[in-house]
Symmetry: C2
Subunit: 265 residues, 2 copies
């Protein structure tokens, strides 16, 4: 694959026809190519979608996430910033969701640096509330994907807490270009010249969780209003392999081409 054009945000959007969508023009979700054949969902008591939702204040949600980070870290902080409010406003099925079990999302899943826990938490929130595509709608998956793209492109952290534990000027903003914890934190650490265990790095990640929680609620509120137009996409559809858009970051100029047709064997 020649990655020079396609392996950028702009190139990806251009090639998938999503530039119009990103500019705010409606993309019919049902027009997305199917990732696989649909099938019926199971029928646990919480497996009926969408879950009831009431609009939340993004800034209030972000403050909760910021403080929750210091208790349960990025993934659980994002989930609980939304679900704790919906437990109080609505009750079930939010009360029965074991939010704290998702503490392990910290550090890109138990310190392995894979998907940033804030992104994982946001995807859990959108997919738990809107449901899986086998239950009839791809919106939850595409909203989660949109958040990962926004995260990758944003100068993070976006959100400034009201009562920061570390002064704002000590927390620089960096662009990850990726939804991965390793790259997101690594680029920030290089810019800030602060180690993993520093108070500044921790506060940066708490602010990232808050930023993602804010964005997630903005999108959920738009959906509740019937005004949500997704810019989310499934990268595997474009690249013919499950992938980010930053191929050259790891592969350099020699981006391999995936097999595109079954070989006769």
């Amino acid at each position: 694959m020649n990655c020079n054009e396609t392996c950028t945000r702009r190139g990806f959007l251009k090639n998938t026809g999503l530039v119009a969508a990103a500019a705010g023009i409606t993309l019919a979700v049902s027009g997305m190519p199917k990732f696989a054949t649909a099938a019926a969902a199971k029928d646990g008591p919480t497996e009926k979608w969408p879950w009831p939702y009431e609009k939340l204040d993004p800034a209030v949600t972000a403050e909760i996430a910021y403080n929750e980070w210091y208790r349960a870290y990025c993934g659980a902080a994002v989930i609980n910033s939304v679900f704790s409010q919906l437990r109080a406003k609505i009750g079930e099925p939010y009360k029965s969701f074991p939010v704290d079990a998702f503490l392990f999302l910290e550090g890109g899943v138990s310190g392995w640096g894979t998907i940033c826990g804030s992104n994982a938490g946001a995807n859990i929130v959108t997919n738990a509330i809107l449901g899986p595509r086998i239950a009839g709608s791809e919106t939850g998956m595409l909203m989660g994907s949109e958040i990962m793209q926004w995260y990758s492109d944003a100068k993070m952290p976006v959100f400034l807490p009201k009562e920061p534990k570390i002064k704002d000027e000590l927390i620089p903003k960096t662009v990850a270009g990726s939804p991965l914890c390793h790259i997101s934190v690594g680029r920030w650490m290089a810019e800030a010249d602060k180690p993993l265990a520093s108070a500044e790095r921790k506060d940066r990640c708490a602010r990232v969780a808050a930023s993602v929680a804010y964005r997630t609620v903005e999108l959920l509120n738009a959906w509740k209003d019937g005004a949500y137009v997704t810019t989310g996409a499934i990268p595997a559809m474009k690249y013919k392999i499950q992938a980010q858009h930053n191929c050259t970051d790891c592969h350099g100029k020699d981006v391999p081409s995936p097999p595109v047709a079954a070989a006769a064997k």
Copy 2:
């Protein structure tokens, strides 16, 4: 960081003192360095740990996961292979866990190629059943981490289904060296010369889900018997950044050193 020694499985174990543990000698989990300060868990009705567990048949579980892959894909397949049986044997809190919402784990989270959904699903299972470390035990997190290491090192797929949809000889085995979907699937596709959309690639991923489900139940059963000795570790503790053990795969010889002490600013 000089990665020549530390960025290998053996070097990692050697440097963290886990060679003895990997060899089967007991490592006290409480002796692991803490990733952060413990705090109290919240008290939703399902947030009491450990959840009740009854030993399952690993082979039966793997067969369920293999077939569930074709309905709900890797992450939900691994979760449901365990939880569907525990819903029948025990009931709550498994009935209220919205397994199908985790379909989005497919393709390394909605086709982005981050953590393999089978690994994500296994971590959800171990952490939901054993609980987060802020509830008193690190075992769920370390068991999940152990599964990711096993996944990275294994010739995948390990499990052979009783009634395969594709003949065994058409599914080669490859070593990912990583818990990421992109690398795991990419190396298999290169070896098999089969595209993402091929029936062989799909069956390979269904078998990977089955393999991970099998291993997860083996470890849970050992825990239930009081015989579980973890070989899991938190890579961020070693590398001073959230990371895998394959630094040179992306960085080549120029593996950057993370900041190790707060700079005066």
